[in-house]
Amino acid sequence: MIPLDMMNVDTDQIIPKQFLKLIQKSGYGDFLFYDRRFGHDGRPKKDFILNDPKFEKRQILLTRDNFGCGSSREHAVWALFDYGIRVVIASSFADIFYNNCFKRGLLPIYLSQSEIEYIFNLVHTDDVIAEISLDKQTISISGKKMNFNIDPTRKKMLLEGIDEIGFTLSLNDQILDYEKASRVVDYNKYLV
């Protein structure tokens, strides 16, 4: 588990704009937290947590309030995922980021301030192994078990890897019904 002890980590920090020019969905791992990880000379900054060999190849990121605020760039999720992160634990998330996580199979877990504090204390003193069950919605760390919330639809999406567009298209009759009959004002007609 990587402890990123900071609140309000914005998506500009997670993936700086110079890496948003690519047109593919993968290959962003090397650019994760780029300006935090590397100096202007391109060398790794010693004081940044991701450069600490102790936290190499970890799959869980522990952080604080309002993680992922700012830009809607899904590249932030792609960068975390490509780097190897599979779970982000925080006291709260920004809306768009939280939503984007599920599209790439990244699990965002929000816990109470005191639970977050408890885990930070553990991680600061010891190398922590966390066992996470999405199915049971539990995290076990050093013998302490915590429950987390996730709504059923999102949980199902992660567990089953649903093709969301395919699912929506299977509801085409209802979309057609809305387009043809049910709407209050047909705003489409002004653009035809």
């Binding site: 704009k17 593919q24 969301e164 979309i175 387009e179 004002v185």
Partner: protein, 478 residues
């Protein structure tokens, strides 16, 4: 019980209301119809690629318009684009739009501009509609009483394919703005929204749609209302909303995609009757802000809630944190990044750069107001200042008024339209350590260039700062 404006727009766009009917689970997403979709080059290539890969079509190409704004050069457009990666992204959007039959206002178009500037300008943005875009500042369009919010790239693909989006119903948040600022011509809507974010924090609006209401709001022009709704996302909200009124309807008249004449009259009647919160509507949260004594606002830190009055000094981390240790640490880091000492008067801060532009403050009115400050005066020799109009139309309208001459005579660079130094994806960036007075929306670390230091202000504050070389209280000038 009555309904809020947000609930009315939401309810009229529900295709499938899973939350209440099928599952009995109140926390299930609903399928919401999308009336208008805006696309730009940065968050769309992967959506189009994935669409093609799965052999899917765009359901309603006529409901989407595209433009190139993030990557485009704001210098001479007849020159080739030097950055080959940017060039590739711009060309990819043009190709995708051609392939799927989507109208694009690209770099050669006289209507190209920042996506949130051209949407309203073209009359594409209408009251009562749902509008999405792969861009967090889509909240801008809420100024028209549209439910408008930013989405990720996967959702862009979903909207292209289905014209719908799955969404959990946000909560409603009313912000009442009371009072009228003294020296009202020197206090702008930028100052009002910065003050609001200062009060509610960068996550104060998380999970909500904010409706802004008050005498001050009613008196604002559409352009000023857009500045407020634009920055709703900086307070964490999904969207911002202002109920449409005469000002809104007058703005729409004669715009390309807006309904015409009798049809518009009919809609105006409908909007007037329906697009406002009922008197007995219940909001999940209500805040009141009084702006009578509002001073020009300046950010000092690295998020848009780190704001002070121009008459203030840089606060200490303790003052900012109010006992919250994590906030204190954040402020310590912010002050270090910004190279600032607590106790320094804001008016003592010297800047290297001034940027007037972005989807927050690059519209004609912003430029007119800034030009009134700079007219006949000279930019400080220590400052490099630029004006980047939000769209080609804003640029040409401004040029018709002679604003380009005013700015250029004063020493400002006068550029082509685009997002430019708001996020620095094109060559317009701050150098490490440079300090900038910016009319944009984010003062995050590195946002305007790695190591760059951003202070968010209104256009007139930025203009005055360019002349003096340091922040000044623009109330003394107007």
């Amino acid at each position: 019980m009555g309904k809020t404006l947000f609930e009315k727009v939401w309810d009229s766009h529900v295709v499938i209301d899973d939350g209440n009917k099928n599952t009995g689970d109140t926390n299930a997403p609903s399928l919401i119809y999308v009336d208008r979709h805006l696309v730009h080059e940065v968050t769309s290539p992967q959506a189009f690629a994935s669409l093609k890969q799965s052999g899917r079509q765009v359901r309603h190409p006529e409901l989407t318009i595209a433009t190139t704004d993030h990557n485009v050069s704001t210098e001479n457009r007849t020159l080739p684009i030097v950055d080959s990666v940017s060039k590739m992204q711009l060309e990819t959007l043009t190709r995708n739009c051609k392939e799927f039959g989507i109208t694009i206002y690209d770099i050669n178009s006289p209507e190209q501009g920042i996506v949130h500037v051209i949407g309203p300008e073209l009359g594409f943005t209408l009251p009562g509609t749902t509008i999405v875009c792969g861009d967090s500042h889509t909240s801008t369009h809420g100024a028209f009483g549209a439910l408008a919010f930013g989405i990720g790239t996967s959702e862009v693909e979903h909207v292209l394919a289905t014209q719908c989006i799955w969404m959990y119903k946000p909560k409603s948040f009313l912000i009442k703005i009371e009072g009228n600022p003294r020296k009202s011509h020197a206090i702008t809507s930028k100052d009002i929204i910065l003050k609001i974010i200062r009060k509610i924090g960068t996550d104060g609006g998380t999970g909500t749609v904010i409706e802004y209401r008050g005498d001050v709001i009613s008196r604002l022009s559409m352009e000023q209302r857009m500045t407020i709704c634009n920055m709703s996302i900086e307070g964490g909200a999904r969207a911002g909303l202002i109920a449409p009124d005469e000002t809104t309807f007058n703005y729409l008249k004669g715009r390309r995609y807006a309904p015409k004449e009798t049809e518009l009259e009919g809609l105006i009647e409908f909007w007037t009757a329906n697009l406002k919160s009922d008197a007995n509507a219940k909001f999940d949260r209500v805040e009141t802000i009084n702006v009578t004594d509002l001073a020009p606002q300046v950010t000092w830190g690295t998020n848009p809630s780190m704001v002070a009055d121009i008459t203030d000094s840089i606060p200490s981390p303790e003052e900012f944190a109010q006992g919250n240790e994590n906030k204190r640490k954040l402020a310590v880091r912010a002050l270090e990044y910004m190279n600032l000492e607590p106790g320094t008067p804001l008016t003592n801060l010297h800047v290297d750069r001034v940027f007037i532009g972005s989807c927050t403050n690059s519209r004609l009115e912003d430029l007119i107001e800034a030009s009134l400050v700079v007219k006949g005066r000279k930019v400080s020799t220590k400052v490099r200042a630029m004006v980047v109009p939000g769209s080609q139309k804003v640029k040409s309208d401004a040029e018709k008024l002679g604003l380009d001459t005013v700015f250029k005579d004063s020493g400002f660079e006068w550029r082509e339209s685009g997002c430019s130094m708001c996020l620095g994806m094109n060559p317009d960036i701050l150098l490490p350590g440079e300090r900038c007075a910016s009319t944009s929306n984010r003062n995050f670390e590195g946002r305007q260039g790695a190591g760059g230091r951003t202070h968010l202000v209104s256009p007139i504050m930025a203009a005055a700062c360019a002349l003096e070389g340091h922040f000044v209280d623009v109330r003394d000038w107007l």
